[in-house]
Symmetry: C2
Subunit: 317 residues, 2 copies
């Protein structure tokens, strides 16, 4: 290949590791995945990534000197200055100097950040963000994750905990228990899991809901039923968008974003989610905060992480 | 004076304009104030500042080439890239290209930011922040203001509205009316004004409170009474610290600060405020978020703004 410069993006998940090779302009030359080998507390992962990258480099005929580095996302708490992993429960890592290990193995500079943060960077580079300077990205899936960009930079915080917005308290007194040990977190009120739980609770008093007949209820079923004016679905989604609009408005009052990007499985509801969400956001936000920002559905799906990884390399050079 | 380099800090308030001359190392060489001339919608202010700075420069015998620039804080919404003021209600400015005007008059580079943001920068440089990379500064006075530092930089946001944390919604359904037009804002529950209002509400049902006898009740009276176990004062301060702890914890979950700095008149209560606040913060924050940060009382008082102005110059060079 030509003498262009290339960045590797890597997104480590509990089951697979996604990889991609991008130019600094954002062209994707190769995208693939390998299994996550979690044996022996994930000690083989760095080598597996090194091998996968070397094979791709050779296949694409890229000279080593044209590789700018590797940007890696991992699901955990990370010292983004050093690439040191405090803990990544799903992978088995704890107090692991991953960034330095991968850098030594590969010979390239390595940057590491939280996977949700990299997804936000990726969406902002090549997806819905369109290069905004100030972004709140919210991922509504099994849980609620997020990434915050301020002054054009991802916020990582004092110990890699920034933008854990699923754990903002939205019910101060009680609420459902959260995996984090607290109660009433945003995740317990606005994730796909929460939507299903809240519908099941609502069905007890709404026997004529069509959802009473659905087995293995999903958030998708709830949005479909709401579109057909199902009372239980409407009741729950009204409550969910109100809570989510409040939480995002409170974040926006702090960050003053140009863009709010909603991703994750629940975001597939599109305007059915965005329209009421914008309304509740507007009611809780300051007028100038509301005027400054637009709402977007994430565009890159599962590719956001590897694209964000490549951006991390580009940004740090 | 020697050939050191100097920064001017300016803090424009509704009554007075504070000014200071600092070295880049943070030594304060002169600190003074002039009245704010609000006649003709504040059109003379830029010239007044220029004159005051020239007089001080001459008095201190600083050569023009050793002035690095002027950092100005104003109470309003500002385009921090250009120094353009969208609106500063208390001064009378609207859509005013203040930064460029002062720069033309003085011949020095000028940077402008919101006064609360500059106070946060000042505290972080020479006060309680001790140069932390990630800071949440909260000012509890007549209202509730704030400044947020992330990755070592002040957050200004898409249209100068960042860190308006007094307007986070803490009571989603109802609550007291706020000056911003919403209800249930943090400012209506945790400012000095709110403390007094809440005590007056509580006194209706707590006739044996000592505060029933106090005329022209202030937040200071409430803290004094709480120290003497007054039931109305205790009830209100428990509610205030709970609400404040929740709001700051939600912010901290987004920003992951190393420091939370509490300033403004109410902060004079010191540990009587900080100790219960840290407890409620801990209960609403994630464990790692709590571990990463310390709480401090602001140290610079009214000087924080001019010091932050000088820092803005230093930071931008």
């Amino acid at each position: 290949m030509s003498s262009d410069k290339y960045c590797f993006g890597v997104d480590i998940g509990g089951t697979t590791i996604k990889l991609a090779v991008l130019s600094t302009k954002g062209e994707i030359f190769k995208k693939w995945e390998i299994p996550t080998n979690k044996s022996q507390r994930g000690k083989h992962i760095a080598y597996d990534i090194h091998e996968a990258i070397e094979a791709a480099r050779s296949e694409l005929d890229i000279h080593k000197s044209n590789i700018l580095g590797i940007g890696v996302g991992a699901p955990g708490f990370i010292n983004t200055k050093t690439g040191f992993i405090y803990v990544a429960v799903n992978i088995g890592w704890e107090d692991y100097d991953f960034g330095n290990e991968l850098s030594k193995l590969s010979g390239y500079p390595v940057w590491v950040d939280n996977d949700a943060n990299l997804a936000a960077l990726g969406e902002n580079w090549l997806g819905a963000g369109n290069g905004a300077e100030n972004v709140i990205a919210v991922t509504l899936g099994t849980g609620v994750g997020g990434g915050i960009i301020a002054n054009g930079q991802i916020i990582s915080g004092a110990n890699g905990m920034a933008a854990e917005i699923g754990h903002m308290t939205v019910i101060s007194n009680g609420g459902a228990p959260c995996n984090c040990g607290k109660t009433g977190c945003l995740e317990t009120e606005a994730s796909a899991t929460a939507i299903v739980r809240k519908v099941k609770e609502a069905l007890v008093t709404i026997p004529d809901s069509s959802l009473n007949k659905v087995e293995d209820l999903t958030a998708k079923d709830v949005f479909r039923a709401a579109a057909a004016h199902d009372p239980a679905a409407n009741k729950v989604l009204t409550s969910v968008t109100d809570t989510l609009g409040l939480a995002i408005a409170n974040l926006a009052i702090a960050v003053n974003p140009n863009k709010v990007i909603i991703g994750g499985g629940v975001s597939k509801a599109g305007d059915q989610l965005l329209n009421p969400l914008k309304e509740t956001f507007k009611s809780y936000a300051l007028a100038r905060t509301f005027e400054a920002c637009t709402f977007e559905i994430a565009e890159l799906g599962n590719d956001a992480g590897v694209i964000g990884g490549a951006y991390l390399v580009k940004e740090n050079l």
